[in-house]
Amino acid sequence: MVGLVVVSHSERAAEGIVEIAAEMAGDTRIEPVGGDGQGGIGTVPDAIREAVDAADDDEGVVVLVDLGSAVMNADVAIELSDAEAVIADAPVLEGAVNAAVAATDPSATLDSVREQAEAARGMEKL
């Protein structure tokens, strides 16, 4: 299955988003990662790489990210990782829920999951 990683500046936010997305995720591997490694707000490439590797079972990983440095550090992590991973250009919570649903499709691919995550950009709430 395509795996998912949720990167947030806050470890608790990442865990919370995963908690919500996991309701729809079936058996999908979905890993939260966040924080500066010192208990503070931030993101660290090595930690993200570990999450990417943990989410990967050879079918690739879609990475959802929150703000600025999460994108850059996820980029670095993907370069460091052996897994085939891509960042979805999507809002982190809605994208994670969409991706979780998409990943449960038996015919899901890395591209289809990313596309569904990115479809969350156009979601209207009212």
Binding site: G42, T43, V44, G68, S69, M72, N73
Partner: protein, 252 residues
């Protein structure tokens, strides 16, 4: 027998470690000011993140046994990426890992230009930022362009070229004040980011100032005067006047 296998002068690697130590000390000294700048437009973590990262980087550099410059850059860059915990990790550190490869034949004026250009290119790519976005790119771009021109076109000695680069970075930092942030956390403030000096650009200036001081020390020369209001182009009339004086031989 040296542990250095690259054939590059050991003193170059030692000078790069000395530069990293000087940067770590400077960033620590400016930590509160950098955080103050960042708290006005960002998330108030720049000073702390950079100080922690550079302290760890200096430590990692010191532990290397007789390293060449490329190895120092790689180690320091990776340590910054691991320890900074924010965008400055990949920007300042990640770029250093790549740019360090330009120093595999040692530190010369030419390899320093190649290093500087690669560093800037990596910062721009990783941050997807260009001049005018109110980021570190606003300090680095004029510094790198001025350094390259000073070395390649004006034929200035490397130390004078680096001093020109510091001048240019200082002007770049000043340029971040009256413009609107388009990248980074400050961009969320929209027009309210106008009027604030970018912390990342400020850090880049401090780093360049320390590189200049360490380079002067390594070359056994005085640190050239740095003056952000000095002309980017060498003052030819002054040079001609000086030549004239020398030629006329009147020692007034």
């Amino acid at each position: 027998m040296s542990g250095n296998e690259s054939g590059v002068s050991d003193s170059d690697g030692a000078a790069v470690v000395a530069a990293v130590e000087a940067v770590a000390e400077r960033i620590e000294a400016e930590r509160d000011y950098l955080t103050e700048l960042d708290s006005a437009i960002g998330d108030a973590d720049h000073g702390g993140n950079m100080a922690r990262g550079w302290a760890a980087a200096a430590e990692a550099g010191r532990e290397l046994d007789d390293p060449d410059p490329q190895t120092v850059c790689k180690t320091v860059g990776k340590t910054l990426m691991a320890e900074v915990g924010g965008a400055s990790g990949p920007l300042f550190g990640g770029s250093l890992v790549f740019a360090g490869a330009e120093l595999d034949d040692g530190v010369t004026a030419e390899s320093a230009v190649a290093f500087a250009e690669t560093y800037l290119e990596k910062v721009e790519d990783r941050g997807d930022a260009r001049v005018g976005d109110q980021t570190v790119v606003d300090a680095l771009t004029p510094a790198v362009h001025t350094f390259k021109k000073s070395v390649e076109t004006d034929g200035l000695p490397p130390l004078d070229a680096l001093a020109k680069a510091v001048d240019a970075a200082e002007r770049g930092v000043a340029f971040t004040v009256p413009i609107r942030a388009r990248k980074g956390r400050a961009s969320y403030l929209g027009w309210r980011s106008v009027g604030h000096q970018d912390p990342g650009a400020t850090s880049a200036l401090y780093i360049l100032e320390e590189l200049l001081a360490v380079a002067a020390d390594a070359l056994g020369e005085e640190v050239p005067d740095v003056d952000a209001t000095s002309p980017t182009i060498p003052d030819e009339s002054a040079a001609e006047a000086a030549d004239g004086d020398a030629a006329s031989g009147d020692g007034d």
